[in-house]
């Protein structure tokens, strides 16, 4: 049982490393406590410049409604559009709301009242969303006015269509509920991929790996001794993440935790295997880092972690199948938010097993005790 001695040594080294045990706790903690708040696609605090050419009580009410919506900060009130545009150029404002002269009069006289929305779309998402919010507020406002003051005929109202959306599994469309499971998996992938790769390449640089290669220890045992510690660390990281999700966001999995651990066990094995494959080809820590970054980043972007896989171009959708992260992110979102069970996800499990076998088999085959 040489494995016992190899494992003993790995755990001693991890324990003695001043940096690693702390990182294992701090990284998932900070990542989950912070990232879902930051990586948030809800747009808030939009700076609004207003050009009010009407100076009526209606226009004042519209401005007040906008400012109190929670999305906008009224930063500038300018006399003309040119000045407002200048503020956008200076980055003092993101959106211009220009109210045309005769706004109130037109509204009262059943005429179309004119409002101009002009948005800085350097950040496309922010620009798009802010003009959407603003038009929402304006149409809301006009509906209010018409209902209250104009007593518009009830026939029109009865004909208008109202859609009541029902959001399943994430009723408040909270972005963090989508992000927490995804970020959790990203952390797990990073730690379980990088650590074993850096460990082996570190031993290569120090020359201790050569000393091991000249011993009778089998390469299978050697690789197992590098996998098992990071597998254990993976479970610790996952548990910390679940605790943080519960403490900070009150999130509890809708499906069984045991299933998640089962999937994660295979997933960690797959990513550690990838790390080991890379360590067999890299000669320096620097090379290993770069290769690992390449794969981890590619896998993250193909995983649908940030953007839904279904909105990717066709060929990258196909390509996303080679990202183990894609399966795991889906699994976690399904189990955590939807409460899916193992049998719903059996093909995901099969895919993850495939990756684990592929990467670890490759790692064993490409490891050379003799060159």
């Amino acid at each position: 049982m040489t494995l016992k001695y190899l494992l003993e040594k790995e755990f001693l080294q991890i324990k003695r490393n001043k940096f690693m045990p702390r990182m294992i706790f701090i990284l998932p903690f900070v990542a989950l406590a912070l990232f879902p708040l930051v990586a948030n696609f809800e747009v808030k605090n939009i700076n609004l410049a207003v050009v009010d050419n009407d100076h009526s009580s209606f226009s004042a009410r519209l401005i007040q409604k906008t400012a109190s919506s929670g999305y906008f900060h009224l930063t500038r009130t300018t006399a003309d559009y040119q000045t407002a545009l200048h503020h956008i150029e200076q980055d003092d404002a993101d959106v211009i709301l220009e109210i045309a002269p005769g706004f109130e009069k037109n509204l009262m006289n059943y005429q179309p009242a004119e409002v101009l929305i002009s948005t800085n779309t350097v950040n496309g998402m922010k620009g798009g969303l802010s003009s959407m919010y603003l038009s929402g507020i304006i149409s809301d406002f006009s509906a209010e006015i018409r209902a209250k003051h104009l007593q518009i005929n009830s026939i029109l109202k009865a004909n208008s269509l109202e859609i009541i959306p029902r959001y399943d599994y994430n009723p408040h469309l909270e972005y963090k509920y989508t992000m927490v499971p995804a970020i959790l998996m990203m952390m797990l992938a990073m730690l379980s991929g990088f650590l074993p790769a850096l460990n082996i390449v570190g031993e290569k640089e120090k020359g201790t790996i050569e000393q091991l290669n000249v011993t009778p220890v089998s390469k299978f045992t050697l690789i197992l001794s590098k996998l098992i510690p990071y597998w254990v660390i993976g479970f610790i990281v996952l548990t910390i993440c679940f605790l943080v999700a519960w403490m900070f966001y009150g999130m509890i999995s809708a499906g069984g935790y045991l299933q998640i651990y089962l999937f994660a066990a295979v997933f960690v094995l797959a990513f550690s295997g990838l790390g080991l494959v890379i360590s067999n080809y890299a000669n320096t820590v620097q090379q290993a880092m770069f290769m690992m970054f390449f794969f981890v980043i590619t896998f993250i972007f193909l995983s649908g972690l940030y953007t839904p896989v279904s909105s990717m171009p066709g060929w990258t959708q196909t390509l996303s199948r080679i990202s183990p992260l894609r399966y795991m992110v889906e699994v976690l979102r399904f189990i955590f938010l939807k409460g899916s069970n193992f049998f719903d996800l059996k093909w995901h499990f099969a895919a993850l097993c495939g990756f684990a076998v592929l990467f670890n088999g490759w790692a064993v085959l490409s490891y050379r005790k003799t060159n």
Binding site: T2, K4, Y5, L6, E8, K9, L12, Q13, R16, N17, K206, G207, T208, E210, Q211, L212, N213, V214, T215, P216, V217, S218, K369, T370, N371
Partner: protein, 246 residues
């Protein structure tokens, strides 16, 4: 005498460059065989092949009766190896390092602790048992590395420039340890470029440009080259080398 290493026309080429070029020699059981040569002469490459770390391009060799090409893992069971680079784990203690290597060479668990104790007493390192290896001075590290390499009682021990960067007194002590090891029947295969150390060997071979230029006892070599010491022998042979030292 029993031959523990038999090498015939062993060659290792990297592309068109022949690091080791058709070398042949034999090493007998229990002798100290010095493997000399300038930097870049091919010593380490040859030794790595004999340890089963590197596959030869052509030629053959038997180490402890096993073929280096087909049975490298059997060879690894029967040899000890101390590399040029210091290869103990700096972040483990003295005792942990010994336990680790003893364990992977399958020394029975019960024997490890008492043998470790005895070894540390002999080295005078009892008080350093629980110190991290990185806190030891280089000379002690080297002695410890050698002791670890022979801890599992291998038939042959390969030492690759074991005394590099060590002071003369420690080098002397190191060689005493080597002699002690041969007394218990271990064959020592050692590379060095300190010529005074060559005098301590039973036989030496001198490699020049990947080939063995001379092989005999130090006394015979000095006679043959009409030299006062091994330094002169080495200069006469290495003077004509075409490879630049690195």
């Amino acid at each position: 005498m029993e031959k523990v290493i038999v090498v015939e026309n062993l060659t290792k080429a990297f592309g068109r460059f022949k690091a080791v070029d058709q070398i042949s020699f034999e090493v007998e059981k229990g002798e100290i065989f010095g493997f000399l040569g300038a930097n870049g002469a091919g010593k380490t490459t040859a030794m790595r092949m004999l340890c089963g770390l590197s596959i030869p391009t052509s030629g053959k060799a038997l180490v402890a009766g096993y073929d280096i090409r087909t049975q490298p893992e059997m060879i690894k069971k029967n040899i000890g190896y101390m590399s040029q680079k210091f290869a103990l784990y700096e972040d483990l203690t003295v005792a942990e390092n010994i336990r680790f290597y003893a364990g992977i060479y399958q020394v029975p668990e019960k024997e490890i602790a008492p043998r470790t104790q005895k070894l540390l007493e002999r080295l005078g390192l009892e008080h350093e048992k629980d110190s991290l290896v990185k806190s030891l001075p280089l000379g002690w590290k080297q002695k410890l590395a050698f002791s670890v390499a022979v801890f599992h009682h291998p038939g042959i021990v390969f030492l690759d420039e074991p005394t590099g960067g060590v002071d003369p007194v420690t080098r002397r002590q190191f060689w005493e340890m080597i002699y002690e090891a041969t007394d218990s029947g271990i064959t020592v295969f050692v590379t060095t470029h300190y010529m005074d150390e060559a005098e301590y060997c039973d036989r030496v071979s001198i490699m020049v440009d990947g080939k063995i230029a001379a092989l005999d006892t130090p006394a015979n070599l000095k006679k043959e080259f009409d030299a006062n010491n091994m330094d002169e022998v080495f200069y006469r042979l290495a003077r004509n080398a075409s490879r630049k030292a690195d």
